[in-house]
């Protein structure tokens, strides 16, 4: 297996008596896109700040490219990281182009490539305007542009789509896919698992600072053990005798019957459906169901 770019080993971080991150293990490998999912205060931002070296772990070890990002030499590791903070704040008095030039120089990247970067996030026309006049979506895109400076090996995006409208969100994920094709590893935090479905390779679910799940979405579906359900609406006034066909089904209000089954069973069940069935619906667990399952249980072995 390739050497991870970012690695957390038994990392715990306390703020006074409160434990923000509890014994978390995490590895981000080259080219991988990992979603960090959890409710507000689950420890997502703390983990990202630990990786950046803004915070030091109370226990355990954080390594970025084999170095401690919080140590003096960590400055070198930080050059290989791109960071987009939650609700990115930029200097309102600077223009978009100036902002990018300032950050490029801090990172010792040639600002000559900035125009191309601005074009890539669709801000070339607005580059000479002050950031104060930007909409939230534009600021987020400028934030992504600064995170992409110098082709970092890993991108750390903290709730990059919170507060964006659906169209901006889609274009943001479009940009992200392009970045991934260029080979950067991405660690992406979000509180909505459903949003990450087609975006990430792997999901890490956090609950109150603990890692409760780690795997790709298919694995998580299996682990969660939430099975699809079939719902049948019966004709009104169906005699009880004909209900013998529905042994084991649960009754729901309004003459609806429901049963849990496995994926292969679905077809059989549908084939043998009696005539009294008026409408049939197959309910598969959504990612939100999956997330609810993992965030309400402490630990499911992975």
């Amino acid at each position: 297996m390739t050497e991870p770019i970012v690695q957390l080993q038994h990392v715990t971080r306390r703020f006074g008596p409160q434990i923000a991150v509890d014994e978390v293990e995490l590895a981000l490998r080259p080219g991988e896109c990992v979603g960090l999912v959890g409710h507000n205060g689950a420890g997502k931002t703390t983990i990202i700040k630990l990786v950046l070296g803004l915070l030091r772990p109370s226990a355990g070890r954080v390594m970025v490219l084999g170095q401690d990002p919080a140590a003096g030499a960590g400055a070198r590791a930080r050059r290989e990281l791109g960071y987009l903070p939650e609700n990115v704040a930029l200097y309102p008095a600077l223009t978009g182009a100036e902002t990018l030039r300032f950050y490029a120089r801090l990172k010792r990247v040639d600002p000559a490539d900035n125009a191309a970067l601005l074009a890539r996030v669709g801000l070339l026309e607005a580059a000479k305007r002050r950031v104060a006049t930007y909409s939230k979506g534009m600021r987020q895109r400028l934030g992504l542009a600064q995170a992409l400076l110098g082709r970092p090996q890993a991108l750390l995006l903290d709730e990059p789509t919170s507060g964006l409208d659906p169209a901006s969100r889609q274009s943001f994920y479009g940009l992200l896919r392009e970045v991934r094709r260029a080979g950067a590893a991405v660690l992406l935090s979000s509180h909505a698992l459903a949003e990450l479905d087609s975006v990430v390779d792997r999901v890490v679910i956090l609950n109150r600072g603990r890692k409760t799940a780690d795997g790709d979405i298919q694995q998580l579906r299996r682990l969660a053990g939430i099975r699809p359900r079939i719902r049948v609406q019966l004709l009104a006034d169906v005699p009880p005798c004909s209900r013998s066909r529905f042994v084991g089904w649960q009754e729901r209000p309004g003459g609806v019957l429901e049963i849990e089954c496995t994926e292969p069973e679905i077809v059989d069940r549908l084939r043998t459906m009696p005539e009294t069935a008026q409408a049939v619906e197959v309910v598969r667990p959504t990612l939100d169901d999956l997330y609810a399952r993992f965030s309400h249980h402490d630990e499911i072995a992975v």
């Binding site: 960071y83 704040a89 930029l90 008095a93 300032f102 600064q146």
Partner: protein, 275 residues
């Protein structure tokens, strides 16, 4: 060094954009011009070089105004960025925290130096043009200007430590105003009160001299109003100057120390701050 210069440059650009440089320059020029024309009246036929009078009046102005401007400029250097949320991103870049503090400090000293230099020089030139006496001692004026910038730098450094310690801008602003009140107004009044009550019984004249060194504003006063010969004659500080045996070089190095200590403290506190 490179990172420091970048941050200083950004601070300077911010100063231009939010009109700080312009407003402070105009304010200082306005005050200085007013003082120079008012100050010209009493000299009348007295044999005083207009520039010497100028130095006395401008340094009295500096003692009140520059610390205030310096504190207002610097109090939110760190806490402001922290509150607005730009600090985490800045520190995620390959920048050490001491570079952030020193960069911001030098940028703000640059703003203050520019404003003071332009403002005071205009006033000085206007005063000279208005009088027949051109035999002015510009080196004393330059010394006053340089020490004024240094006084400002001391309070910018103090502002940085306030900014590094505070959790929100409101508190930082309050503490900054408090520092200004203590050093510029309260300290001297308290010292005067003690001297009057004491009547030289406990406090020796030498001790008073050392007590003045505790306050950077007083060091500046000693340097400009008592230190140079022509100015001390008009400033009424000649008595004090004779008692306090501090040479100009010593006074300047004390001001430099007053700059360095808060800066080092600010870096130390900031390095331990949770972002």
């Amino acid at each position: 060094m490179r990172q420091m210069v970048l941050i200083a440059g950004k601070e300077w650009l911010d100063g231009w954009r939010n009109r700080w440089v312009l407003v402070v320059t105009l304010l200082l020029a306005l005050f200085a011009l007013t003082l120079s024309f008012l100050g010209a009246a009493p000299t009348g036929s007295v044999k005083a070089s207009p520039l010497a009078v100028m130095i006395v009046s401008l340094s009295s102005l500096s003692i009140f105004l520059l610390p205030l401007i310096a504190l207002l400029l610097s109090y939110d250097a760190i806490v402001g960025e922290w509150e607005r949320g730009t600090l985490a991103l800045l520190l995620a870049y390959p920048v050490a925290r001491w570079q952030v503090v020193l960069g911001k400090f030098s940028g703000q000293v640059g703003i203050l130096a520019m404003a003071t230099g332009l403002g005071y020089s205009t006033a000085a030139v206007a005063a000279i043009m208005n009088s027949a006496d051109f035999a002015a001692d510009w080196s004393e004026f330059a010394a006053m200007l340089a020490s004024s910038v240094l006084l400002g730098a001391v309070f910018i450094a103090l502002g940085h430590i306030v900014s590094a310690v505070s959790r929100d801008r409101g508190t930082a602003g309050g503490i900054a105003i408090g520092i200004w009140l203590v050093f510029v107004l309260v300290y001297d009044m308290a010292l005067l009160g003690v001297l009057v009550a004491d009547r030289g019984r406990v406090l020796s004249e030498e001790a008073v001299g050392w007590l003045l060194l505790i306050n950077p504003a007083d060091i500046y006063r000693l340097f400009n109003l008592a230190g140079t010969t022509s100015a001390s004659a008009f400033s009424g500080m000649s008595g004090l100057a004779a008692q306090a045996h501090f040479g100009p070089a010593f006074l300047i190095s004390m001001l430099l120390l007053w700059c360095a200590v808060p800066l080092v403290a600010a870096v130390w506190v900031f390095s331990r701050r949770q972002i």
